[in-house]
Symmetry: C2
Subunit: 191 residues, 2 copies
DNA sequence: TGAATTTGTCAACACGCGTTGGCATTTTCT
DNA sequence: AGAAAATGCCAACGCGTGTTGACAAATTCA
């Protein structure tokens, strides 16, 4: 009776509370640094529920790190604006919802956790590489790799390592300078 | 009597065995993924010795992640060759001694361990930033930050994440392309 | 209302961790 | 050789972890 089509059942709401808390904590402390008890406390329920709803910590992490980067269609942009557009897009996504997007989550855990590293390689292979492939010629994988080098480096130094001068850099300067580097990688592969 | 000046006492040799094993394992599995028992096994001694010789896991990590990048004097190079020289230098250092140099060690652990992150920021502040400062003008910190973005991104994707297309990139292409990006960051700050 | 199902709590488990102190062994020195 | 010091192993501790099963409270349905 109280269930409108948009209303969710009780269990769905706590399931979402767990997932949200897990995303936040995994993004902040990494996989190893986050305990099931921490997640349960943040979601205001018992640790046992985390296991019952998701089957285990590993499975929960897999769900938490499974998101869409929502990359724009790069072919719809002027060819020489792709670099800046990419940087702008990622900065927006990362700073948008408190850093609980999949990429920082996986990025923080990838260094010490194989599951997270695999997840990150998968995100790269299924989302970043194809988007680049439509711009660059036969050399697309190498170009995508070089782009990843710069994009992940920016994410790592700014959001994970929090290197002071990188944190201090204003958004528009990052867009201009890092964008130029990425543009060069893409242009370098065009005949 | 058996102690020539270059000979070390017994304890010094096992102390070095522990440190070497620790460097290797920390570089491979990160701080959290490496146990004192693992290190002891790799050094073929008892876990208790690790604590007795170094005081604890934290202190051992601090010693293991404390190395010199041996950055060359950048002012001695032609101004337009600095980018390539930097990339070449880092690739050599990283691939030289099996990746047991300080930067990959700290890099792998920095994501989930505060001690490692602090160590990495310190390496940046005391070694990378000053080297750049002599080239770039008053804007040096920002330039050093941008350079770190690209260098750490390369290290992360190639040696930690092992992203296939980045691993596959031949050394000289990395030197040329990534070097050009870094050169652009440095040149951007010169009047 | 009363039975059945869902949702949640509690206590405890087995395990691996860093770390410690006691005791055996080896090396060193006189 | 014999005493003294260094070097090493062993067993155990306290702790936090992921996970489990039994039981209570709330919700749902007839």
């Amino acid at each position: 009776m109280t269930d409108s089509p948009t209303k969710k059942t009780k269990s769905d709401r706590t399931r979402e509370a767990i997932l949200e808390a897990a995303r936040l904590l995994f993004a902040q402390k990494g996989y190893d640094g986050t305990t099931v008890r921490d997640i349960a406390a943040a979601a205001a329920i018992d640790p046992a529920m985390v296991i019952r709803y998701f089957g285990g910590k590993d499975a929960l992490f897999a769900r938490a790190a499974d998101l869409d980067l929502r990359l724009p269609d790069l072919t719809a942009l002027p060819r020489n604006a792709v670099g800046e557009a990419l940087v702008r897009h990622f900065l927006t996504v990362w700073e948008g919802d408190g850093g609980t997007t999949a990429l920082p989550i996986a990025l923080r855990s990838a260094a010490s956790n194989d599951l997270a590293a695999a997840r990150l390689r998968e995100i790269f292979a299924t989302q970043v590489a194809p988007a680049i492939a439509r711009l660059a010629g036969p050399d697309a994988p190498a170009v995508a790799g070089l782009v990843a080098t710069q994009i992940l480096g920016l994410a790592f130094t700014r959001y994970v390592l929090k290197l002071p001068p990188v944190v201090a850099l204003p958004r528009e300067r990052l867009v201009a300078e890092v964008g130029r580097s990425i543009q060069a990688y893409i242009d370098g592969a065009r005949p």
